[in-house]
């Protein structure tokens, strides 16, 4: 008789928002990097199927995408090994995997929400963390993802009234779904951008405080997108990079420890070149 081992399903973190351009992709790519840097097995799934930017931000040229995985699932059912459809991202010794959005728009349009959920369930069996980047709507796919997720990172920015209105609608809709309170984490990106609206006012309006606040650093963010290297992988880094690491530390239930750096090869490289 073989040894019975219980199947383990990894953590699913969905990055969701009801306002666009709030930094979902920037934050999800950085969180994937930081978790991978800490030695976790990480897969980042790009379910902004039509206009996803994960491959752009990481400068990947995926050979296979979510569409290919769906095709294979249609043919072979659960025998498909989802991990064969991933594209690795490597920076020095840090590695994580990406399930890329389809190359063509018509492929993206034809991804079935149920199939997409099967993909996430498959990946959960192989990875410690499955991070999912999404679009800013309550679509069928996103609603299913919210249900399945261990944690939903609900992102917002404070810029002008219409955005705040949509954040409020989003957070109220999430409340109506009756998820456990600590499943939904309200994250504010770009906190000190030019605006006359105070964070306190927004928190009052939403009826809860932000779980985490990320500082505005448009320059650093743009640079990292241009270089294709997430901020947390560059040491000697930016305030935003630090805040992102702090955020990940809170997700992994450990206070961020600077000594982690010393075990990671690129930190001495950074000391030399940084």
């Amino acid at each position: 008789m073989g040894v019975f081992t219980q199947e383990i399903n990894g953590v699913v973190i969905t990055f969701f928002s009801t306002a666009s351009a709030v930094g979902k992709t920037l934050i999800s790519t950085n969180m994937a990097s930081e978790l991978a840097r800490q030695g976790k097995k990480v897969c980042l799934v790009d379910f902004d199927l039509q206009f996803g930017d994960v491959s752009n931000y990481l400068q990947l040229l995926p050979q296979r995408t979510a569409y290919d995985l769906q095709q294979a699932m249609n043919l072979q059912g659960n025998a498909v090994r989802a991990e064969e459809f991933l594209t690795p991202y490597e920076y020095h010794n840090v590695v994580f995997y990406v399930l890329a959005a389809p190359a063509k728009l018509e492929e993206a349009y034809n991804i079935d929400a149920d199939k997409a959920m099967d993909m996430v369930r498959q990946l959960q069996k192989v990875f410690d963390y499955v991070l999912v980047d999404t679009t800013s709507t309550f679509s069928k796919l996103n609603l299913a993802l919210l249900d399945l997720s261990t944690i939903v990172s609900f992102l917002g920015i404070v810029d002008f009234i219409p955005t705040i209105k949509n954040m409020k609608i989003g957070s109220e809709t999430l409340k109506k779904m009756n998820y456990d309170k600590n499943k939904i984490r309200l994250i504010l990106n770009r906190s000190n951008a030019k605006t006359r609206i105070s964070i306190e006012d927004v928190e009052n309006l939403l009826g809860e405080p932000f779980y985490h606040i990320l500082p505005n650093d448009f320059q650093a963010a743009s640079r990292s997108i241009k270089d294709g290297v997430p901020l947390v992988l560059r040491s000697g880094g930016s305030e935003l990079g630090e805040a992102l690491r702090d955020l990940v530390a809170r997700y992994t239930n450990r206070v961020y420890d600077d000594t982690v750096d010393e075990h990671v090869p690129e930190s001495w490289l950074a000391r030399i070149f940084g």
């Binding site: 351009a21 930017d53 709507t137 810029d159 009234i161 209105k165 609206i197």
Partner: protein, 376 residues
């Protein structure tokens, strides 16, 4: 103006009922009434009518329009039907009628319908301008709101905005409205409505500008069927000279249906230093299936700095497609305006933003000879 009405209605009871309504409506009088087309064509002229109400739900109803036009060259023709059918309405207008009214109608509806076509002048049927964006945060809602104001100011003709962004429509916020009726009710009631009664679902926001607001909460979205939305858009075309439609980002049933039926689709993208041009390029490839894509699909970039002809040219080169207009980055003015429920072009009519929006309005007005009623 006083209307002397010739009523052509084959159903005896309906004829009685409508005669009563016409006689009870201020400024309208019944000049003559007929149950038989041959009589109406041969005998009505002695009563010198200036408005013909014509039942077109009969054999070759459409063909009758032309015959009545020849028999009564100076009278306006209003077609009547039992229920609203976008196709009938658009065909009858193409055939030379001024409008379409659902019978039985009230005196108020008759007045409003006549008022609408007199305001719209000769060629009824609006241009529908759909604003599509690959991803969210394109600046299109700001653009639509300000452009509508500019079009109304320049043409003094009625402009309607439909907020079909069914989950997170922002138009109500932009105009600081607390709408009693939204697109949900309009679509729900559409089969009972005629264009004249649909007008009350639009909220007036400025002289000649009114808005049909979006859904208040996102879970209402499955209440709007695409065919009903198409019908609503078609009906709105007989109320306005221009109908501007805000659709959800990306390719979805709503944005696809609206774009397919549009006179012109504007693809709006905000420049933000990442991969926006790539996204626009990919979206553009889908629209290239249109035989008349260069005529019907116009590209607009927002937040372009510096906002000059050189930037516009460079963007067009990168994209491999003409750029119709570029809109400058005026974050402070735009957010200030949106926070106050006012229009950026009203707060700062002298700003580069206002100038570019006005230029776009001029382009749209200049193309009026190419109205396409029957794009649906």
């Amino acid at each position: 103006m006083d209307y002397r009405v010739l009523l052509m209605e084959s159903d005896r009871l309906m004829l009685e009922r409508l005669s009563q309504v016409i006689n009870d409506t201020p400024n309208f009088s019944l000049a003559a009434r007929f149950q038989n087309v041959s009589d109406a064509l041969g005998q009505g002229a002695v009563f010198n009518p200036n408005l013909i109400l014509l039942d077109i739900e009969q054999p070759d109803g459409m063909g009758l329009i032309d015959q009545f036009k020849r028999a009564y060259p100076t009278a306006a023709i209003l077609c009547m039907g039992e229920k609203w059918q976008a196709e009938n309405a658009s065909q009858s207008v193409k055939a030379g009628a001024k409008g379409y009214i659902i019978k039985p109608f009230t005196g108020m509806e008759l007045q409003e319908t006549v008022e609408t076509f007199s305001r719209l002048g000769g060629d009824a049927g609006a241009e529908t301008l759909v604003f599509f964006s690959p991803k969210g945060k394109s600046g299109k809602t700001t653009l639509i709101a300000n452009l509508a104001m500019s079009l109304a100011r320049k043409t003094r003709e009625p402009v309607g905005i439909i907020d079909a962004d069914l989950q997170f429509g922002d138009m109500a916020v932009f105009f600081n409205l607390a709408p009693q009726t939204t697109i949900v009710e309009a679509v729900r009631d559409a089969r009972f409505l005629s264009p004249a009664s649909l007008r009350s679902y639009f909220m007036p926001v400025a002289p000649n500008v009114s808005v049909l607001c979006g859904t208040p909460t996102p879970n209402m979205m499955d209440k709007i069927a695409i065919d009903k939305l198409e019908n609503l858009i078609a009906m709105s075309r007989s109320l306005f000279r221009y109908v501007l439609i805000d659709v959800p980002a990306g390719f979805n049933p709503t944005s696809i249906a609206a774009a397919e039926g549009s006179s012109t689709t504007f693809m709006v993208t905000m420049i933000n230093g990442a991969y926006e041009i790539d996204h626009t390029k990919r979206a553009l490839d889908i629209f290239r299936d249109w035989a008349d894509v260069e005529e019907r699909l116009k590209v607009i970039f927002t937040r372009v700095e510096p906002c000059d002809s050189r930037s516009k040219m460079e963007l067009a080169q990168k994209l491999g497609y003409p750029v119709a207009e570029i809109i400058p980055n005026e974050y402070t003015i735009v957010s200030d305006a949106a926070d106050k429920g006012k229009m950026a072009t009203d707060i700062r009519p002298d700003s580069p933003l206002s100038r570019q929006v006005d230029r776009l309005a001029d382009q749209i007005i200049g193309r009026r000879h190419r109205i396409r009623w029957a794009a649906v």
